[in-house]
Structures are given as C-alpha cells and as structure tokens.
C-alpha cells in the first residue's frame, strides 16, 4: 500500500518535472489546442502566359498580403524577397500563377449590367522551403456589377485567404 503511494507520488513529481522542463510551444497543442503556426512568404505573381496588366498583377500581390495578414492564419506574412525569411524553419511559400484573365469594362457594366465583367482565375500553390507541395487550389475573383475593375483582385485575394483558412495544413 505504502509502496503504491510512493510510486504515485514519483509519477506526479515526474509529470511536474516534464512540464517545467519542456518549452511552452511543445505543450501548447496538448494544453490549449493551439498548434504552432506556419509563416508564409507571398511570391510575386506569375503571369503564366496571360496578358494580365501590371496593375492587376501588383494589385493581386498587395491584396494577398493584406488579406492573409487579416486572416491571422499564419504567424507572419512576409513579402517576396524579404531577408527575414532566411533561416526560418516553419515557412511556407505561396506561389500564384494566373490561369485566365478577362479584362472588363466599368462603363459596359453600368450600361448593360450583364456584360463587361472582369474575371480572374489563379492557381495557388503552398510549398515548403524544399519545394514540397503542401496545398494546391484554383481560385477565381470577379467583378460583375458594382465597383472598378481592380475590385476583382480584392475579391480574388479574399477568396484565396478563405480557401487557405478552410484547408487543413500539416503541422510545421
């Protein structure tokens, strides 16, 4: 009976010791359901053979950085070429290639309602630093009624952020 009590006390002391020695992030998943987050580096947009205008390419990139930061899915959102990405282990790289681009017209939309839509479709790939593909999605963004043509890039970036949020990423 006394030996059992002694062994239980030893186990309790052991558990307390392990908890105090192990770093907090290692236990975060067990204790609070928090998983260590990935960082993401947003690469420049690849035109992919489409005749996308430079302002659209830049607008997609900038809106992606903004929307991914807003979504708070990643612990940090880094820009393409950012030197602080060097030496980071939990880094994913977001590659975006334009698959199709249909330029629209705001005036046509205002006059006819049904024509003049700006349509964008991109292929997003999340890769690790060593090039291993983690996630691939084809996402589109359109503007059909109200707003300027560049609004399509905002819609697209929001859809990409939502698609990444819904996806299950492996632990870093």
């Amino acid at each position: 009976m006394s030996s059992r009590r002694i062994s239980l006390t030893a186990v309790a002391i052991g558990v307390a010791l392990v908890q105090s020695v192990l770093p907090v992030p290692a236990l975060a998943g067990i204790n609070h359901g928090r998983v260590p987050q990935w960082r993401v580096e947003v690469n420049q947009i690849d035109s992919g053979g489409s005749s996308i205008a430079p302002e659209f390419r830049i607008a997609i990139y900038e809106n992606l950085v903004t929307e991914l930061t807003k979504s708070k899915q990643f612990s940090a959102v880094l820009r393409s070429g950012d030197r602080s990405a060097n030496g980071v282990s939990n880094l994913l790289i977001l590659k975006t290639t334009v698959e199709s681009y249909t330029p629209g017209s705001e005036t046509k939309r205002a006059v006819t309602t049904v024509t003049g839509a700006t349509k964008l479709k991109v292929r997003n790939q999340l890769c690790t630093k060593d090039g291993q593909l983690v996630l691939e999605r084809v996402v589109d963004g359109n503007v059909r009624f109200f707003g300027g043509n560049l609004r399509a890039t905002h819609n697209l970036a929001r859809n990409v952020a939502n698609a990444l949020k819904q996806a299950t990423l492996p632990d870093p």
Binding site: E55, I58, A59, Y61, E62, G81, E106, T107, A110, L150
Partner: protein
C-alpha cells in the same frame, strides 16, 4: 367636401414631390461629375510638376484610395497629403514603372446610387456619359529589407505621361502604352 379637397391636394403634392425628385437625381449626378472634374488640376512648381493623384493601393502608411500630390524632388519620389504623413521613396529603390490607361465611372458611390435610383433606365443613359479615362502608374520597388512592394496611382488623363517622362528622365525604367508607341515611332523614323 373638404376631405376630398384634402385628398386631392395630397395627391397633387406627392406627384409634385415625385417630379422634383426625378429632376433632382440627374441634376445631383451631373453636379457630382462636375466636382470630379474640378479635382483634375495640375499645379506646376518651379522645377517639377506637382500632380494630384489617388493612391489606389499598396502605399505603406496611407489608406487605399486617398487623394494626395505626387512630385519628384531631386532623386526622391514624394507623395504628400494635407493630413497624414508624407511618403518619400528614393528613385534608386524603384525597379520599374508601368503606365496604363483605364476607363472609369465618375462620381463614386453617390453617383452609382443615383444611377440605380433613376427611373425608366435613365441610370444606364447617365452611365453611358458619366465615364472618364484615367492614367494608372504602377511602381515596383524593394524595401530596405528586400521585400517586394507595388503601388498603384490613379492620375487624370495625360498626367501619367508627364510623370512617366519625369521618371524616365531620372533614369527609372518606364514602360507602357505611350512609351511603347513613342519608341516604335522613333524606330520607324530611324529606319526611314
């Protein structure tokens, strides 16, 4: 008798109100477009022109779609606003500039609502005339940490070319509509 008279009076006044509103909606849209035109002024300083421009997106520390003034002072690209910080960017940081042109509806959201409220398809007719061409200047640059940035400025038609010429004269690589056509013209002249 008086009741009938009152009802008749109410009907007449509501009809009158409806007519006044119908007249006011296009008039307010027209006024909005005139206000939009008034913003297209170019102030010329002694050395380089100061251009009114809208920072569409990508400018750090500045809200999207905020109006301001663009200028090139020595070797620095300056975007200043009446309120808020002035953004300065050395021209050496700019990797490339691209000039393009796009057609946009004038008047923004009030105009869009006015168009939607105009009866008998009048909004479509207004939309047909209430548009304007704008120049878009896209700049690509790297920050001090090596991160890639892009900013888009919207200028009135013709002002983009002025800015492109200024940037080109300072050694920034500029491409786009007019630049390409000007180069082609120069090449064909040389061949002749």
């Amino acid at each position: 008798m008086t009741r009938t008279k009152n009802m008749c009076y109410e009907r007449v006044s509501s009809n009158l109100l409806f007519r006044i509103l119908r007249c006011l909606v296009p008039a307010s849209c027209f006024a909005a477009s005139l206000i939009a035109h008034d913003f297209d002024q170019v102030r010329t300083a002694s050395s380089s022109p100061v251009l009114r421009a809208r920072a569409v997106l990508g400018l750090e520390g500045v809200a999207n779609n905020s109006m301001g003034e663009l200028s090139i002072q020595d070797d620095v690209f300056v975007y200043s606003r009446r309120e808020g910080p002035t953004v300065r960017m050395p021209l050496s940081e700019i990797q490339g500039a691209f000039l393009s042109q796009e057609d946009k509806q004038v008047g923004g959201m009030p105009m869009a609502l006015g168009r939607a409220a105009t009866p008998y398809g009048g909004g479509r007719v207004i939309g047909l005339f209430a548009h304007k061409k704008y120049d878009f200047m896209t700049l690509e640059y790297f920050d001090s940490n090596g991160g890639f940035h892009g900013t888009i400025y919207q200028l009135s038609k013709g002002q983009g070319q002025v800015l492109a010429d200024e940037l080109g004269a300072k050694g920034v690589h500029v491409s786009g509509l007019e630049m390409a056509s000007a180069k082609q013209r120069l090449e064909t002249n040389n061949v002749k």
